[in-house]
C-alpha cells in the first residue's frame, strides 16, 4: 500500500502521466498509436512504400527499356528468355521479347496510379453526395438514395465495357470511368453519420452564428466524419485496383504500349501453356503483394479509427 502510494507520488509517475496526456490528447494521436501497435498493418505500410518506390525509381535499375525488343532471345523465349542476371532481364522477357522487369515497373506505375487517384476521388464524390443527402434530407435525399439503390444493382462490368467501347481506352478514361462506377463508395455511411451529427449542439451553434449550410458541412461536419472517409478509401483503393486489373485482363482496359498488372497477368496466363511461367508469376506476385498490404492497412485503419472496433 505504501509502495503504491510512494509510486503514485513519485516524480517519474507524474512525468509519465503528463507525457501520456500530452501524447494521447487528440483522436488522431490515439488512432496513430493504435495503428502503430498493429504490426501487420505497419509492415504492410512498408511493403506498399516499397512498391511505390519500385514504381517511381524501378526503371533506373532496368538494363532494358520497356519498348526495346531483345532480338537475341526472340523466338527462343522458352529456353533463353527466363529470368537471368547475365543478360539483364531480371524477370525474364515477355512474349514479344521485351524486358519483363521494365514492363512490371510500368504496370505497377499504372495500376497504383489508377488505384490511388481514382479510389480517393470516387470516395470524395460519394461522401460529398452522402453528406448532402444526409444534411438536407427530403427530396434530395430520396433522389440520391434512389440512384444509389439502382446503381449498386447494375454489374459494373457492363458500364465499364460500354463506356470504354464508346470513349476509347486511355488512362484518363480509365480513371474517369472508375470514379463514375464507384461513386457510391462510402455514400450510405457518410449519409448516416451526417444525419446523426446534424442534430448535435455544435451544428446548432454554427447555424446560430449564421454560417451557411455548405460551410457547416465542409467546416464542421467534415472533420467529424473524416475517419469514415479514411476507412472507406482504404477499402476502395484495392477494389479499384482489382477492377482495373480485371478489365485490363479482358482486353478492354489499359491498352498497349501501356500496361498494368491485369494486362500483364493476362499475357502471362495466355502464354503459360508454353512453359514460360515467369510471365505469369512476377505480375501476379506484385498484384497479390499489393492486395495483401492494402488489406492489412485497411484492417489496421479500421481497428485504429472505428469506435466500434476499438480494442
Amino acid at each position: 500500500m505504501t509502495d503504491t502510494r510512494k509510486r503514485l507520488n513519485s516524480k517519474e509517475f507524474a512525468d509519465t502521466v503528463a507525457e501520456e496526456m500530452i501524447v494521447s490528447r487528440s483522436f488522431w494521436a490515439d488512432a496513430r498509436r493504435r495503428f502503430l501497435s498493429h504490426r501487420l498493418a505497419v509492415f504492410s505500410v512498408f511493403m506498399l512504400l516499397a512498391l511505390l518506390l519500385f514504381a517511381l525509381f524501378g526503371q533506373y535499375f532496368a538494363r532494358w527499356s520497356f519498348e526495346e525488343i531483345d532480338w537475341n532471345v526472340l523466338g527462343r523465349i522458352k529456353t533463353e528468355g527466363a529470368p537471368s542476371l547475365e543478360n539483364g532481364h531480371w524477370f525474364g522477357v515477355d512474349d514479344l521479347g521485351r524486358d519483363l522487369y521494365a514492363r512490371v515497373v510500368q504496370g505497377t506505375r499504372t495500376s497504383l496510379m489508377v488505384g490511388f487517384v481514382a479510389g480517393p476521388l470516387a470516395v470524395l464524390l460519394g461522401a460529398t453526395l452522402g453528406a448532402l443527402a444526409g444534411y438536407f434530407g427530403g427530396r434530395l435525399d430520396q433522389i440520391i438514395t434512389g440512384f444509389y439503390t439502382i446503381w449498386i444493382s447494375i454489374p459494373y462490368i457492363i458500364f465499364f465495357v460500354v463506356w470504354q467501347a464508346f470513349f476509347g481506352r486511355s488512362l484518363t478514361q480509365m480513371i474517369i470511368v472508375i470514379i463514375i462506377v464507384n461513386w457510391t463508395a462510402g455514400l450510405l455511411i457518410v449519409r448516416g453519420q451526417v444525419m446523426m451529427l446534424k442534430h448535435r449542439e455544435f451544428v446548432d451553434a454554427a447555424r446560430m452564428l449564421g454560417m451557411s449550410d455548405l460551410a457547416i458541412i465542409f467546416k464542421h461536419l467534415a472533420p467529424n466524419i473524416l475517419w469514415v472517409i479514411v476507412i472507406y478509401t482504404s477499402i476502395v483503393i484495392p477494389e479499384v485496383i482489382m477492377a482495373e486489373s480485371l478489365v485490363s485482363f479482358l482486353g478492354v482496359g489499359i491498352q498497349e504500349p501501356n500496361t498494368s498488372w491485369g494486362a500483364l497477368i493476362s499475357e502471362g496466363a495466355r502464354t503459360m501453356t508454353f512453359g514460360t511461367l515467369w510471365q505469369l508469376a512476377f505480375p501476379a506476385a506484385f498484384f497479390v503483394i499489393a492486395q495483401v498490404s492494402l488489406y492489412y492497412i485497411g484492417d489496421g485503419l479500421r481497428d485504429a479509427l472505428d469506435p466500434k472496433d476499438r480494442r
Binding site: I150, I154, Y156, I158, V161, A165, G251, S266, M272
Partner: protein, 309 residues
C-alpha cells in the same frame, strides 16, 4: 407480398428505360462506329449499310423501333459486326452456358461456404477457425483472374485432370473449374459472414434459454440458431450475384465456354453497339430478377420483413 412484388417490378421498368435511352444516345453520339474502317466506304455503299440497319432515320425513331421490338417481339436486332448472327442468336446459344456454370457456382458458394462458416463459429478460436479465416482472407486476395490461371496450371497443365477450357455440351468436367474459379472468393466471403453472425447468435439470450432448458446442442443449432444466423448471409448474396455476373464475363473469356461474356467483350472491340446494348440489357434483367428473388426469399424467411411489406 403480391403488392410488393408488383411495386418492385414497376421500378425495374423505368430503370431499364433510363439505361436503354442513355446507352442508345451515348453510342450514336460517340465518335466512330461499327462501320468506320481505315478505308472509308463509298458514300453509296455506306448509305445502303445505314439503311439496312435502320440507321438513316432520326435517332428517336430508331430508339422507338428498338424498344418496340424488344417489348413486343423480344428481338434485340441484328449484330452490327457479325454479319450472319442476330443478338438473339448469341443469347440463345450463350446464355444457357453462362447460367449453367453460374448456377453450379452459386451452389458451390452456398453449400461449401455456409457449413464452413458454421463449423468455424462452433469451434471458435480453434485450428479450424483460424484455418477458415486465413483461407477467407487468402481467397479474397486471389480474385478469379489470378485464381483461374493457377487452377488451369495445376489441374490441366500439371496433372491433366480437367480440360482447361471449352464447353462440350456442358459435361461436368467442363463445368468444375469455371464454377470454382468464379465462386471461390464469394464462398470465402459467405463463410466469413456466416461465422460472424453465427457467433453473434450463439451469444444471444434465447440460445442461453435453449441451453438452460437442456436441449441437445444439435437441436439448438439446427432449430434455433441457424435461421437467424443465415439472414445476413442472404442479404450478402444480392451484391454477390452482381459481382458473379461481372466475374462470368471473365470466365467466359478465359475458359472459352461460349457464354455471352465473350460476345460482350468482342462487341466492345468491334464497336458492335447493338450487341453491347442487347447483352447489357440482358445482364441487367438477370440482376434484377436475382435480386427480386432474393428479396422475396428474405421476406419469406424473416417474419419482421414480411409484415413490413
Amino acid at each position: 407480398m403480391f403488392n410488393y412484388t408488383l411495386r418492385r417490378l414497376l421500378t425495374v421498368i423505368p430503370t431499364l428505360l433510363v439505361l436503354i435511352v442513355f446507352s442508345f444516345y451515348l453510342m450514336r453520339l460517340a465518335p466512330g462506329g461499327p462501320f468506320t474502317s481505315e478505308k472509308p466506304l463509298p458514300p453509296a455503299v455506306m448509305q445502303n449499310v445505314l439503311e439496312r440497319y435502320g440507321m438513316d432515320q432520326p435517332l428517336y425513331v430508331q430508339l422507338w423501333t428498338y424498344i418496340k421490338n424488344i417489348v413486343f417481339h423480344f428481338d434485340f436486332g441484328p449484330s452490327f459486326a457479325q454479319k450472319d448472327r442476330t443478338v438473339n442468336d448469341v443469347i440463345v446459344q450463350g446464355f444457357p452456358v453462362t447460367l449453367t456454370y453460374g448456377f453450379w457456382s452459386a451452389v458451390f458458394v452456398l453449400v461449401l461456404g455456409i457449413p464452413l462458416g458454421i463449423i468455424a463459429a462452433l469451434r471458435h478460436n480453434s485450428v479450424w477457425d483460424y484455418t477458415m479465416t486465413g483461407l477467407a482472407i487468402f481467397s479474397q486476395i486471389f480474385p478469379n483472374f489470378v485464381l483461374a490461371p493457377i487452377l488451369v496450371l495445376l489441374f490441366t497443365l500439371s496433372w491433366g485432370l480437367l480440360p482447361g477450357g471449352g464447353w462440350n455440351g456442358g459435361q461436368w468436367e467442363y463445368i468444375v473449374m469455371p464454377a470454382i474459379a468464379l465462386g471461390t472468393s464469394y464462398m470465402a466471403g459467405v463463410a466469413r459472414l456466416t461465422r460472424g453472425s453465427m457467433l453473434e447468435v450463439l451469444n444471444a439470450p434465447f440460445i442461453l434459454t435453449a441451453r438452460a432448458k437442456g436441449l441437445p446442442e444439435r437441436v439448438i443449432i439446427w432449430r434455433h440458431a441457424l435461421k437467424p444466423a443465415l439472414l445476413p448471409t442472404l442479404t450478402y448474396m444480392g451484391p454477390v450475384f452482381v459481382y458473379m455476373i461481372t466475374g462470368s464475363v471473365f470466365i467466359d473469356v478465359f475458359f472459352s465456354t461460349g457464354g455471352i461474356g465473350q460476345d460482350f467483350i468482342d462487341g466492345a472491340y468491334s464497336r458492335d453497339y447493338s450487341m453491347l446494348l442487347g447483352l447489357a440489357i440482358l445482364y441487367s434483367l438477370l440482376t434484377f430478377t436475382l435480386n427480386l428473388m432474393l428479396d422475396l426469399m428474405y421476406a419469406w424467411i424473416d417474419p419482421k420483413v414480411r409484415s413490413s411489406l
